[in-house]
């Protein structure tokens, strides 16, 4: 497989395709590390604990109907989960074009206004699982 340039990642939040406002997207798979080193050990022993996955997106802000601000603002601060899905590139999901999905996620923090004079208005969002199955990788 050739080296890859990210050009067409698709980001859907609550069913709304916000891809054309995405500057950066990061899918993080992570688990807590638990130190279980005991007497007699010659090196640290670590076990994985609870997963702590997330999807981080930097959006170019847009206050139009149905766009970034109007989509994300009502999602922040609600414990009613929604879905976020990120696909590596346009086209069908496959092993070579995977997607990542949090079926039940929440948006704990949202910054509707963040910028300085003359700069592009952006907002950084961290989408976190609200229980359920957490982050899933889709290959079909």
């Amino acid at each position: 497989m050739a080296k890859s340039i990210l050009r067409e990642a698709k980001v859907e939040v609550n069913g709304v395709d916000l891809s054309n406002h995405v500057q950066k997207v990061t899918v993080t798979k992570k688990a807590d590390e638990q130190d279980v080193t005991a007497m007699g050990a010659k090196s640290k022993e670590t076990l994985l604990g609870i997963s702590d996955d997330m999807i981080q997106v930097t959006f170019y802000q847009d206050h139009a109907e149905g766009s970034v601000n109007r989509t994300l603002s009502p999602l922040q601060g609600s414990n009613t989960p929604f879905k976020i899905k990120v696909t590596h590139s346009s086209g069908s999901i496959s092993k070579t074009n995977p997607a990542w999905e949090i079926e039940e996620c929440i948006l704990p923090e949202f910054t509707p206004l963040d910028g300085q004079v003359g700069s592009a208005e952006t907002t950084d969002c961290s989408f976190k699982p609200a229980g359920g199955e957490g982050l899933k990788e889709l290959t079909s």
């Binding site: 069913g15 709304v16 916000l18 149905g66 009502p74």
Partner: protein
């Protein structure tokens, strides 16, 4: 969708595509499938309702037997 609630057809009116539909396309509440998501899409201005389906227009027929009988006099 719970039984007894008529399906609603929406038009995608926001700048962004919704569930694979572009601006101007139609989508039904059944296709959205989740009432909370449907309400959030409505609140965000991404979709707007077009016409409710399966809601017949109200009829204006009068039922027989409601007219006063001929010759009847009102009681005082």
């Amino acid at each position: 969708m719970p039984d007894g609630k008529a399906a609603t057809t929406y038009e995608v009116v926001g700048r962004q595509a919704v569930l694979g539909r572009a601006k101007g396309d139609r989508i039904t509440s059944a296709e959205i499938g989740d009432e909370t998501q449907e309400q959030r899409l409505l609140d965000s201005g991404a979709i707007k309702p077009i016409t409710p389906e399966a809601q017949p227009a109200p009829t204006t027929t009068t039922s027989p037997g409601t007219k006063p009988e001929a010759g009847a006099t009102p009681k005082e």
